[in-house]
Subunit: 266 residues, 3 copies
């Protein structure tokens, strides 16, 4: 279903094709997201104006929509871009940051989830809220739940939306509603750097741009980040260092490292 | 009034409670601010839409408002959020970036200062402009004045607004209009990294979230940053390194370091 | 036309005068741009509201306009600020990010190019599109062309707009339509860090603030970044490290280093 060889092959494809990944994302992570995509080997662009998103998505190989710092004009552009991507068969990934924290976030992510994303990636709370599995009020953008709490919700959300759903945490889960991939890379210090979840979704975008098997593409995107993060954490006394080493590790990631480190647990 | 033991106790509380700190801040520093709050042990969120700020502040433990890259929709949201915070007894901190540089900044910060912030932190020029102590045109966001020039203005601003006022510079001053704490940590290289003043205000937000004594909380917030900055500067050949080491130092800050390094000079 | 001594003299002037550089730039690079200007020795500010751009540019020594994440209110502010700068004899630099990728970008940069910028800096595709030398659809913000492909376009654009035009790539070219400076510093790893082109334009802004010879100022701005980048790359295993060392190298840049390393090839 997903092997280290698949992961390496997708990495090779990203580097060979340098896909243009169109991001409509939040202000907090734009710089990091762009740098992570560049370090991996993709070509990032951040474009959000209603005047140009449809035209821009048409020249892109994938689209990433992240609602982290949403506002009305941006939400309109997100919907336009998602529809334009679908019309052209361009895969797009949704990051429902903070779904459950406010009605605005919950409603916006629910509306976007109906627009046929190829992938939805969130933490346990976000996925449970989107699946309608809970009406609980989440605490901001962090999840106090374990990723395994959201497994049923993830399967259900995958079935109702047609998206491959990823729930990230200490263990990352990827499901299309039937099959399940469990990944156990990463490091706790990664939670002390802002926006690494957003980065994961962006790298998924790069993988979806080059790989038609969406389950494998999503697992590869998550693995690129988790592997780079754990390599970085080994040499980092704190989160400042981790951020730097993570970009270096993405740049240096290769088949041998993937083969040696990748932990597929189910 | 404020001791190394107080500073450590507040740090412990931040780490024990991981308070959600709601930031409405400028584009330049969002990433750094979020990372500094995470490195300290708090939980940051950046939320600015008029559609959700009131709902979001209600689940937060503190609010930070920074006018660095203000525009009309953001100013409306800032006022809404400040009023919502007050209605729920949630402390909020104001950073009047560039007050004095344009009428728009001066008027916006003056209006926000009337909405009962728990703390106002600025450089000497900003505090003097807000106190009405000067009508001089300031030079952008940097202050050419020394923090001690603004001591009378700070006391006056504290009395008229009810806020604890902090003036930062080579020496940092904290006053409630009567009492005064003077702090002498930090390093000149910190002025070569953008937005460390904004970071100071954000860390004050985290401290206010867990400590009712506002004078101590504000002094603690400033001290966290100044201590981490001077530790970082000792191993930094330039401002790029400083930024990385500062986050690592915030993450590693502990009672022994605070006791050994904290310089309370008055 | 341009020598290492000119480059050093302009650096000295930036540090002696710490010019206030007003940036209306994109969300992705705001933090990096501000930090690069600080590391060089200038004083950056990011100000974009229509309510204040004219007032702010009037206290600035240079203006930088970068359309990377444009939207209608920002475009209006860009035009206002450019006109206000011209009215006061304040030099301004244009960065037409992604011109050619969408009609919105092409039209906005063409309109701004008519507002008498002192400098226009772009990659080969952007300069060719602006010069009307091609109607090709560019691939996002990256150029697949070599900078030398755009030499004729650069000369023509300089003549029609009155701007000094810089085309950056493996070799950087600077022309006023007649004279040409070719610079060969830098390192390929710089292309893996987002927004270094934007940083180049910002450093050009700092140089224009202190040097009336625009050809020399633009060459100096480009050289500051290219030299810092190649010094940084020598000690960087990847793009994360490069970003950090680049800021340190800008901070440490001096006449001896410029004399030893600067490669003026024509």
């Amino acid at each position: 279903m997903f092997t280290a060889a698949d992961c390496s092959a997708i990495l090779d494809q990203v580097r060979a094709r340098t896909p243009l990944v169109h991001n409509i994302t939040n202000y907090v992570v734009m710089n990091n997201t762009a740098n992570a995509l560049l370090a991996l080997g993709a070509s990032p662009a951040m474009v959000h104006a209603n005047e140009e998103v449809e035209e821009f998505v048409a020249i892109s190989s994938a689209l990433v929509i992240n609602i982290g710092t949403l506002s009305p004009a941006w939400v309109t552009a997100m919907k336009k871009a998602a529809r334009a991507a679908n019309a052209r068969g361009i895969p797009w990934a949704l990051d429902p940051v903070g779904a459950g924290a406010t009605a605005y976030r919950t409603n916006t992510s629910a509306a976007l989830a109906q627009l046929k994303p190829a992938c939805i990636r969130g933490n346990a709370s976000e996925i449970m809220v989107l699946a309608g599995a809970t009406a609980e009020r989440t605490k901001g953008v962090d999840s106090s739940r374990r990723s395994s709490d959201a497994l049923d919700a993830a399967r259900q959300l995958a079935r109702t939306t047609g998206a491959v759903v990823a729930v990230t945490g200490a263990t990352d889960y990827v499901t299309d509603g039937t099959q399940l991939i469990s990944l156990a890379n990463g490091h706790p210090l990664m939670a002390k750097v802002t926006g690494l979840g957003c980065t994961a979704t962006a790298l998924i975008g790069a993988a979806l741009a080059v790989e038609k098997n969406r389950l494998a593409a999503v697992a590869a995107g998550l693995s690129f980040l988790a592997l780079a993060g754990e390599i970085a954490a080994e040499k980092s006394p704190g989160p400042g260092s981790l951020q730097l080493h993570l970009l270096d590790a993405l740049h240096q990631l290769d088949a041998a490292t993937i083969r040696r480190r990748l932990k597929i647990v189910a």
